[in-house]
């Protein structure tokens, strides 16, 4: 799967010029264009997994891309549960992906456990 942007769209024509921004996701630097949403900038940078499910750890990323499903929530500059698909990239933004959270009190009951997809 190659990522990146559609530089020459057959209908919309060439990509208009936009200022380049840089931001970090989990410590790795990425570049983005002015007006990119965090989700699209990461997708263009080849990142599809924005977080892991808090309990089962299954990889999650963009789903509805219109701010409805909360699947793309990340931590941006210390603020958690921010929807990447609705948030525009700002220069030097630091984004952290969602990780599995400890479940110290959960006993493994027979119907529990991660579904085998």
């Amino acid at each position: 799967m190659s990522y990146g942007r559609i530089e020459h769209h057959p209908v919309l024509g060439p990509l208009p010029r936009a200022a380049a921004l840089s931001f970090s996701f989990d410590g790795i630097e990425y570049t983005a264009r002015e007006g990119d949403s965090v989700a699209s900038a990461l997708l263009a940078g080849g990142v599809r997994t924005l977080r892991l499910h808090e309990e089962h750890g299954s990889p999650r990323g963009i789903y509805c891309n219109i701010g409805h499903c909360m699947e793309c929530r990340v931590t941006i500059d210390g603020i958690s549960s921010v929807r990447a698909c609705l948030t525009l990239v700002k220069d030097r933004m630091s984004i952290l992906s969602g990780t599995v959270l400890p479940t110290p009190f959960r006993q493994e009951t027979k119907t529990e456990g991660s579904p085998d997809l």
Binding site: H53, E55, H56, S58, Y63, H68, C69, M70, E71, R73, I79, S80, S81, T111, S114, P115, D116, L117
Partner: protein, 88 residues
């Protein structure tokens, strides 16, 4: 597709099989299914699976709907306690 691989509640990752299991074992209403399986308690506020839960626990045709369907829980959008505290 087998029930175990069909996810009904995306936020809490509750599968159709887990819900069927809860309903079969405890013959529970939508609200009880939600409490037992956590389906509908996720950060999206049950937007996706609330209607599904109501449908799954609906009595067979003809019976009157004895218990209440699940209601949409406020807040409409997730609010952190920090933000909540500041607004009052």
């Amino acid at each position: 597709m087998k029930d175990a691989s069909i996810i009904v509640c995306r936020c809490e990752e509750v599968t159709l099989e887990q819900i069927h299991e809860a309903i079969r074992q405890h013959a529970c209403s939508a609200r009880e299914t939600k409490l037992r399986t956590r389906a509908g308690m996720g950060i999206c506020g049950g937007r996706t699976c609330r209607p599904l839960l109501d449908r799954l626990t609906m009595p067979s045709e003809g019976d009157s709907l004895t218990d209440f369907p699940l209601k949409v829980q406020p807040p409409v959008r997730p609010v952190s306690f920090a933000e909540w505290g500041q607004s009052s």
